[in-house]
């Protein structure tokens, strides 16, 4: 059909490459790239992201949740997998706390837009990935209780990013304190 003489030299050359790699795999650990999951796991980079979680300070997951139920993430979420219901006190007046905060991780596409738009650094990306479930519905909807994780956990999985966030929050808090002090001083003076 075409003018290629079938001498097999090209094939032999290719075989030499394969052979070299095979022999080297016995001596060179760079050639053994397979990680035997689940016995061994790869070290994930800090930026690695999977599903979001909610950050709380201190040790009370319910009271110290950073989320103020402003619903910015719910509005911005591209596949609309977040559901928030604002908490109400006895008189029926809403206050800044989520009564319900659900993320349907079967719909979530791990885009981290919720993290970017959150004005309170309350939602962050987790790098945990073993979420397999044996039921199709409820098990894949993470509720507030499952989503809430302490700031220490955040610091552990993303040390650099968490340090930045902590510094920023601390600066904001100080600014606010000073402002309120000034205000109080002005009130006393007036």
């Amino acid at each position: 059909m075409k003018g290629v003489a079938f001498l097999g030299l090209g094939i032999l050359k290719g075989m030499v490459v394969t052979g070299k790699n095979w022999v080297r795999s016995y001596f060179d650990s760079d050639r053994l790239i397979t990680v035997e999951y689940p016995e061994a796991k790869m070290q994930l980079p800090e930026n690695s992201r999977n599903f979001p979680f909610l950050v709380f300070d201190g040790d009370n997951a319910e009271a110290n949740l950073r989320c103020t139920s402003c619903k910015t993430c719910e509005k911005e979420c591209p596949p609309k997998c977040i559901r928030i219901v604002t908490a109400k006190d006895e008189k029926g007046k809403p206050f800044k706390h989520p009564e319900v905060f659900d993320i349907d991780i079967s719909t979530c596409m791990s885009c981290q837009i919720c993290v970017e738009v959150c004005p309170f650094d309350a939602i962050k990306m987790d790098s945990a990935y073993e979420y397999a479930a044996i039921t199709r519905f409820d098990a894949l909807v993470l509720t507030k209780r499952e989503l809430a994780k302490p700031n220490e956990y955040y610091k552990k999985i993303k040390p650099v990013e968490a340090a930045e966030v902590d510094a920023r929050l601390e600066a904001d808090r100080k600014k606010k304190e000073e402002a309120s002090k000034k205000k109080a001083a002005a009130n006393v003076g007036g």
């Binding site: 075409k2 003489a5 090209g10 290719g14 394969t18 980079p45 930026n47 690695s48 837009i113 650099v160």
Partner: protein
Amino acid sequence: MSGLLVGDDEKRELLEVSLGPQHPSTHGVFRMNAVLDGETVVKLQPVFGYLHRNHEKIAESISYLASIPYTDRLDYFSSLTNNWAYCMAVEKLAGIEVPERAEYLRVILAELTRLQNHTAFLGFLLGDMGAWGSVLMYAFKERDEVLDLFEALTGARMMCNYFRFGGCRCDLPEGWVVQAKKVVANYPAFLDEMEQLLVGNEILVSRAQGVGILSGERAIAGAMSGPGLRASGVDYDIRKVDSYGIYDRFSFQVPLGDHGDTYDRLMIRFLEMRESIKILEQALGGLPGGEVMNPKVKIRNMRPPVGEAYARLEAPKGELGFYIISDKGPSPYRYRVRPPSLINLTLLEEMCVGLKLADLMIVLGSIDIVLGEVDR
């Protein structure tokens, strides 16, 4: 039936075969209705739409920002170039400037994307030719190095979602440039090995040379773009034609093919990867400091002024364009993607008529399609 079958007056005995949508070498859920005379292809009708996800209509109902993760899922092999093309269109529409460092990062990531896309392409095409497994594993081993870089920077290996209007989402983590330089420095050795493995191989040569010839004239008439067009000898690379971003600062060549056959389409990828490495070396060496995000831009609640914009770039598979019309609302009034895979695919019948059925798969593989982009 599809209406492809030839009338009774035909003397030959023809057979209509439906290939796909669940066929391992159709690269996704793609179907071809082929009319065969013996083993020779007489007619071919591509059938697509099995992976339609309504991307364009969804984009018209969500905010400008929320479309970026959806663009990742068009051509899922090269999410970063998709992000860039979309951001470029919005930046054009809203008149947003991009800082210098972000422009460099965009070029670096786009070229890394091209590297890993073409590397995977080699593996898949050789898989179509019957060398299933070994070449793909060589390719994926190297591609993983690039994906590790993506993960360290963007957090995801494939759905990167990294570029934003007016820059990039975050700055490089520590040690990234060193690692990237290492990966780029190791790449030529991998390409040499790959060439040794493949280029002279008689089976590859006799299966690929002279198969699926597309003349430059017909490629232009069919609006083909990307490596497939250049393999037919047409000198058209949007990086050179538009020199979008900062591509005019780097010296690189546009490799061209002679024959426009499958072999040329394969080899042109090797040459393009070598040029990409050149660009990467220059860009990584000259990476300036500074901001990665234009501080004036608020990515939330974006409402670009009334108008329309079309932005295009040279994605690994060809010309990727985004056309957006804004009516100053929170989401685009009209949103349209010009996907290279779909338009390159329209020339499939022309390349395949007269070939054997087994060659059909190779020609399809050599166009380099991703069904996420064909069907959107």
